[in-house]
């Protein structure tokens, strides 16, 4: 592609934006692993979209878009951390870099989200409801306890137990796939 041809550049930028849409869910999951609050994570992802659009020419078609976008996410999270936005990114920048250096490459997140979604479907209605309140409605345990009239400790313990069940469900799903 001739990078100085505005028409080619516009087409390429559009392709990059379409790739972003395709990977948006996985990218959000990746952001949320560093930015705990979903609204902050969405805001950061919007910033990432803008950077991705601006730097579209640095992605070459045929290479791994998700890995490229994840690098931009990491850069932006570090940018937030170093700008002192502790409410959004609670960890220090150097600790984040240390974590990134040891992290398994965040590939296949889409597949993991699908597995987990299927595991959520298999939960009992009551367990699923708790998970949805915590992770879809983004309510904290205190608010959930008030809403369902249980103690905060009981909500925390139950959420921990359900998360363990979900981990086991994912492992079983992977094992079953490998077996077949």
């Amino acid at each position: 592609m001739n990078p100085f041809d505005p028409a080619n550049e516009a087409t390429h930028t559009l392709k990059v934006q379409q790739q972003f849409m395709l990977h948006q869910r996985s990218l959000l999951a990746y952001v949320l692993s560093m930015v705990p609050n979903p609204e902050d994570a969405q805001d950061l992802l919007q910033d990432v979209f803008l950077i991705v659009s601006q730097k579209a020419n640095t992605w070459a078609e045929g290479t791994n878009f998700f890995a490229w976008a994840c690098a931009i996410v990491r850069y932006e999270v570090l940018h937030y951390a170093r700008a002192g936005k502790k409410r959004v990114v609670p960890l220090d920048g150097n600790i984040l870099e240390l974590l990134h250096s040891e992290e398994t490459h965040p590939s296949n997140l889409d597949n993991q989200i699908d597995r987990l979604t299927e595991c959520l479907r298999r939960l009992s209605p009551r367990s699923r409801e708790l998970i949805m309140l915590r992770y879809h409605a983004s309510q904290l345990p205190e608010a959930i306890a008030t809403e369902i009239k249980r103690s905060v400790n009981s909500v925390r313990v139950t959420l921990t137990r359900i998360k363990q069940t979900l981990r086991e469900c994912i492992e079983q799903s992977i094992a079953a796939e490998e077996h077949t």
Partner: protein
């Protein structure tokens, strides 16, 4: 470090509740222990996956035609999701990316955006009589229509603008789905955009913003929580049969935007703004405002809306060459 303590710190991280001391403690333990870093990476990865998987499931649930009916004790969250809202959000995510790009462009300080109200929005502060509000989805342009609402004078609630406010009274089922439980009190208006389209110049980007002011005037910390919605959909065509095809026709929207706020009483007036890109082939907009209690209960008293604004924002088309700019 005690593993239980590490779990507590991770929990506080995930809830956004890390104190200064806890933050220091977590940073220290992560710096010093590879095992702690491995555990933290696993827990935070799960945190991200859970949020996105729960959102995925909610969208699937919302898109289903029939919401399963289970006992209120265990089902309130599932049934409290108005599927139209999630479908709208999904449509917005799917087709709105160009619009998002444009809206960000408008937010770039180096470019001056020009805002002007869209005059075709009728009765925006509910000053006209209650007769002006149609029962059911509006059948013509320039008229509010929807569920049961009432126009209330300033003696009942302090208006945001001028002298009246509108109170959400009762949620009604969609005529196309009478068996489905009504979850939100909805209000709609069809707005003709053809004049706006003619005014738009070729070298301009344009977006549309729908802003409404909402008031939850119940006592402080009232249960259940209530979510107020602003949604905006752009369509091609004449729009004459929208009242017969809503909400299925949402999937035909060519651009959309959605915004919401959740309250627990004594909210004060809150402005909620939905934005979307103005496609050059859009003929009309459906604007949708709503109040939804987040438990399966009758519509709480004292939920109000006022001062609905529909604004067009224009700006010169951004230059394409942005890739070489450094941040």
């Amino acid at each position: 470090m005690n593993i239980n303590r590490l779990h507590e710190l991770i929990e506080a991280w995930s809830e956004g509740n890390l104190s200064e001391d806890q933050s220091l403690e977590l940073n220290t333990v992560l710096r010093d222990s590879q095992d702690a870093r491995a555990l933290f990476n696993e827990a935070t990865r799960m945190h991200g996956l859970l949020h996105t998987a729960a959102d995925t499931l909610a969208m699937e649930t919302a898109a289903q035609t029939n919401i399963s009916r289970v006992s209120p004790e265990v089902s309130f969250f599932q049934t409290a999701i108005a599927w139209q809202n999630w479908l709208g959000l999904f449509v917005g995510l799917s087709i709105g990316i160009v619009g998002v790009s444009a809206v960000w462009a408008f937010a770039t300080p180096a470019w001056i955006a020009v805002s002007r109200p869209i005059a075709n929005l009728s009765n925006p502060s509910f000053e006209a009589s209650a007769d002006s509000i149609q029962h059911g989805f509006p059948e013509r342009f320039g008229r509010w229509g929807g569920d049961t609402v009432e126009i209330t004078p300033s003696s009942i609630a302090e208006p945001k603008h001028q002298s009246n406010v509108l109170r959400f009274v009762t949620a009604l089922s969609d005529p196309l789905r009478p068996s489905k439980q009504a979850l939100a009190c909805d209000l709609f208006q069809l707005v003709d955009l053809r004049e706006l389209r003619l005014q738009r110049q070729a070298e301009q980007e344009m977006s549309i913003e729908l802003t409404a002011s909402f008031l939850d005037d119940r006592a402080n910390n009232s249960q259940p929580s209530v979510t107020f919605f602003c949604q905006l959909y752009l369509f091609r065509g004449e729009g004459l049969d929208m009242h017969q095809r809503w909400p299925e026709v949402i999937s035909e929207a060519i651009s959309s935007g959605s915004a919401e706020t959740t309250t627990l009483g004594k909210s004060g007036w809150r402005d909620v703004t939905a934005r979307c890109h103005f496609s050059s082939d859009a003929d009309f907009a459906v604007i949708h405002v709503a109040a939804r209690p987040n438990l399966r209960v009758p519509m709480p008293d004292r939920l109000f809306i006022d001062h609905v604004r529909l604004i067009a924002k224009t700006q010169p088309v951004l230059p394409i060459r942005l890739a070489n700019e450094s941040r």
